[in-house]
Every structure is written in structure tokens, then in C-alpha cells.
Amino acid sequence: MDIKYGLSASFNSAKDLYDAAGKVREEGYKEWECYTPIPVHGLDAQMGVGRSKVPCFTLIGGITGFCTGMLIVWYMNSFDYPLIVGGKPYFSPIFPFPVFYELTILFAAFGTLFGMFFLNRLPRHNHPVFEHPSFGRTGDDKYMIVIEIEDPKFDEEETKNFLKDVGGKSITLIRETIE
């Protein structure tokens, strides 16, 4: 059985895709996506999407790392097994600076990577767009816009004509095979 996923249109240059993306947004489509071999400068604004939320995950990671660093030094050298070193206080936020500095960076980096995966909903090894016969070219030198069937404005004929009007080539209906 086949399930229709959406209509794709390919473009040959970043400029064509950029202009077309603006028109798709103005037309009022909501469920659509651009596929590009490179991050196209200014495409986010053109598609009307906001800033990435990855920094929140970085911040959470960083704070966790900082607290972890402080906590282990206090617990290990001052609480669980107080160590006398040179008659200095058991704990101070100064001497273990390198420890919590490094842990802040370590946890923030993990937060960033996993935040990126989470926001991109990855890993996901199966996706309908992979069914497109020349999907691989979007990683090479072709650009593609896909308008999903889920979109309230989607109409197979109308959307097809619209994609043709904005300059899309080889309009294809992407189908996902379900066994």
C-alpha cells in the first residue's frame, strides 16, 4: 500500500530556491520544508521560522556541569573524606576552578549535541523523503521544496501548478510504501 507524503519541486540554484521559498510562505503553506546541500543564508527568515532553540540545551548542560563540578569537589575533599592540604580550607570555590570550568564546558557540549539531535528529531533512519528517486542530489548540488499532504492548503492539482509557477522543476509526488 502506498501513502502519499507530499509534492516535491526541485531547483537548480540557491537563489531560485530562496525566491521560491518566500512565495510558498506568502501563499500560506504551513507544512513544508526546503532540502538544501548547504545552509542557505537567510532562508530561515524567508521560510518564516524563528531562531533555533539549541542554546537552551547548552545552558542547561553548562549549569549542570558547573554544579556537578562544585558538588564533587565539596563532597570528596571536604565532606566525605576531608583532606588537609597545606593547612588550607577544605573547600573553596577558587582552587578547583579548572575542575568545574572543564565540566561546565563538557556538559554544555553534550547538551548542545543532544539538543541538536532532539530538536531535529534524530536519529530517524526512515523518512518518506528518502523515497524520492533523486533525494541524494539534495546533498550534492540540487535544492528541493516539499509541501506535505498534511498541509491544510494542500490540493494535489493546485499545489502542483503553484510549484510550477514559482519555478520548480520535475514536480514529483512522494509516496511512502507501507507493507
Binding site: 540557491a14 538544501t36 546541500p37 547548552t58 546533498g139 550534492d140
Partner: protein, 473 residues
Amino acid sequence: MSTTKTELKEEIPADVLKKIKPAKWVDTPLVLNKRNFHWVTEKICGIVEQKTPTWWWWCFITAMCIASFTGLGLVYLVSTGVGVWGNNNPVNWGWAIVNFVFWIGIGHAGTLISAILCLLKQKWRTSINRASEAMTVFAVMCAGIFPLFHVGRVWFAWWLFPLPNANAIWPQFRSPLEWDVFAVSTYFTVSILFWYMGMIPDLAVLRDRAKETWRKYLYGVFAMGWRNANNHWRNFEMAYLLLAGLSTPLVLSVHTIVSFDFAVANLPGWHTTIFPPYFVAGAIFSGFGMVLTLLLPLRAIFGLHDLITQKHIDNMCKIILATGSMVGYAYSMEFFIAWYGANSYEGFAFINRAFGNYWWAYWIMISCNVICPQLFWFKKIKDNIPLVWIISIFVNVGMWFERFVIANTTLSRDFLPSSWGYYSPTVVDIFTFFGTFGFFSILFLLFLRFLPLMPMAEVKSVMPQADPHGGKH
């Protein structure tokens, strides 16, 4: 840009223009010969997809043979005891610390290229950053071997980490060596994360091009299902920028903490505040030396002249020149402070460095690190690729001797002449260090064979075709 140019021309009368003959601004492209995106994909994927070249096998076998020296050295050391190294009293650190700092330093150029140059929007970094990051990761692996085995009983090395053990004691967090554990392991982990994340879009390209099932499967797994969607790129770019922002203070802190191993000790010649910046500059200096040593042959073998252009080589030479001069400045400043500080022990340490028992090491260091890079002032030398390569080797040699001079001249001449000594490496020392070059080469050759040598998306995004605004931005 184009509008301002015409405006200027209108303002200046034609006869004046004729008289002053304004110089033409030549904007050298980063990818030569007007290549297109498809060419870049074919070129970089081609390296991985082609049949394994014969030279690769020869290099790989040679690297395996060389690496076996490290294996032999370590097996002998573990089965006999750390005394088989030349370390003695008073030189307890010997080659172990020298090799550790040497390899860690090499790694730093990779992070500089991928992180600091990214924040500074240096677009030329794109074609060299992947290979340099790989160099970072592999160099840190080589570095880790030395402190790991220097602890003597390597099976207890996990005591360095704050893990509960049967002795019920914890690490002592005031020790710079403990800080090193945190700094180096964080550096290694974050370098791998950064390297891997940057590779995801390229792995997806390799996955989509793959014909064999094993390739489809393995590249597929590691590409995480990346699908080039703008939404993916949006989060990816933000994450990349943040990782660059995190790696920058990290790389500076790592070599700072490595220098604390010395600077926190109360020994003349070590106990100086100049150490952190001086070590960081030295690390970047040696790292760029290694980047040139690795990339110039690759450029010739794979015909990457359009991607790694003369401009890239010039820029790297300039960084070597700048950091080499900083290192030279630090050497002279150390001498000045030793004299100006009027501390007789400090004064002796430095006179001893230049004219004492290790004078030969000191002068090798000065000629390789201070004099050699000064040749890069001349365009003729920068254009001569074999010569640049030879100088890059000198830089590597010089930086190894720098660490040797710092560690050994101070330790071998202690406060009391009764505890003076002289350090010479044993065969086991030499084997272990020599073999790490083989270990590094094995990893680098595997990287060349299976992973994309350059970040394709990043290289493409600095090409004129990537501009969606038709040059009007």
C-alpha cells in the same frame, strides 16, 4: 559593494583617477577554477569511494610496523616496571611529560582552525578544518599514552577519576595533575563531539551515494538519518556555532592547565606567570606545523590544489610566523625576568638553559622555533611548497625540544648541587615515542580511507554559488 564602487568613481574626476592609478582589489576565490558543487562532492567523496590505492597500503603497513615499537615499549614497561624508562632522581619526568605536552600541543591547531577561526569568520578554514580536527583527536590519543603509563601501575590509572574505590579516598583537587585529567579528558571528548557533529551532513551524502550494503548501513547509522532539511541545518548551524564558542575557551584552558603542571611547582625556570600564554602560542605554532606537514602531501596526492590553494598555505605560514615570533618573545622575556627579578636561582636556571648541560637542546629549539619561521616573511619561500613542508618539520622538531628544555634543564639542576643529575632516554623511551608516530599515522590513514577529508557543505557554502542574494548583499 558594487554601488559604492561606482559612487566613488563618480566622485573622483577622471584625470585624478588617471594620476593616482588606484590599485585593483583582487579577491582571490577560496575554490579555484570556478568549480561547481558537484565537482566538490565528486572530489571529496571520490577519495573515500575509490579503490584503496597501493600507496595507502604501503603507508599503512609501514605505520603498523612503526606503531609496534610503542606496543613493544609498553609491554616491556608494564611487565617490568616504570624504571625501564630513563627517568631518575632528580629528573623524574623525563620524556613522558615532554612527549605528552608535544602531542597535546599539536592537537591545538585543529581546535584553533575549527573553533576560533570559525568565530572570527575566517572562511578559508573550511577546506582544512576536518583534517585538522582529525589530527587533534589522534594527537590527544597519542598524548594520553604517556601520563597513563607514567603512573607506573597503569591498571590503577582509573584512580585519577573521581570514582569510588576500595581505598575509600578521593582525588586531591588542588593538584595541577588532577586538573590535567579533567582538562585533557574534556578536551578529547569535546573534540570528538565537534568533529563528529560537523561530519553528520557529509556522512549523509556518503550514505546517499553508497552502493555497497555495508557502506549504506554504516554511513547510515552514523549519519543519524540526516536529510538536508532547512530545519536540520538551522539547529545544526546553531549547535556548530555554540560548540565553536565552547571549544575556544576550552582549548585555551587545556594548554593553560598543562602549563600549570610546571608553573604551579616552585622550581626556577618553571614558576612563571608567562607560562600559560606562552604554552598556548607554542601549541598553536606546533599544531600548524603539523597541519602543513600532513596537508601538503595530501594536496599533492589527491590533487586538491583547487581547494587548498596558495592562499590557504600563505595564511597558515603567516600564523606560524606570528606564533613563532610570540614564542621567541616569550623566550627572551623569560631571560629578561630572570635577570630583572634578581633571584639568583632563577638567573642560574636560565644561564644553565642556554649554556649548561643541555645547551645543544636549547640551541636546536632556538634555531627551529625562532629563526626558522622568520623565513616566512618572504613570499618566495611561502610559494615554494617543498620548502614550506621542510620548515614545518623543523617547527615540529623545535617544539619537541622546547618541552625537553623546559622539563629537563630545570630538573637536572636542582637547588643543591648534591642532587644534580643528567637525564638520557633509554631504548624503551625512544621506542615508545617513535611508535606513537606510527599509531598517529594508522589513525590518520584510516580517517583518509573512510571519512570525508573536507566538510563538503562548508566548502560549498564559501563558493559564489551558495549566495542566494545574487551578490547583492
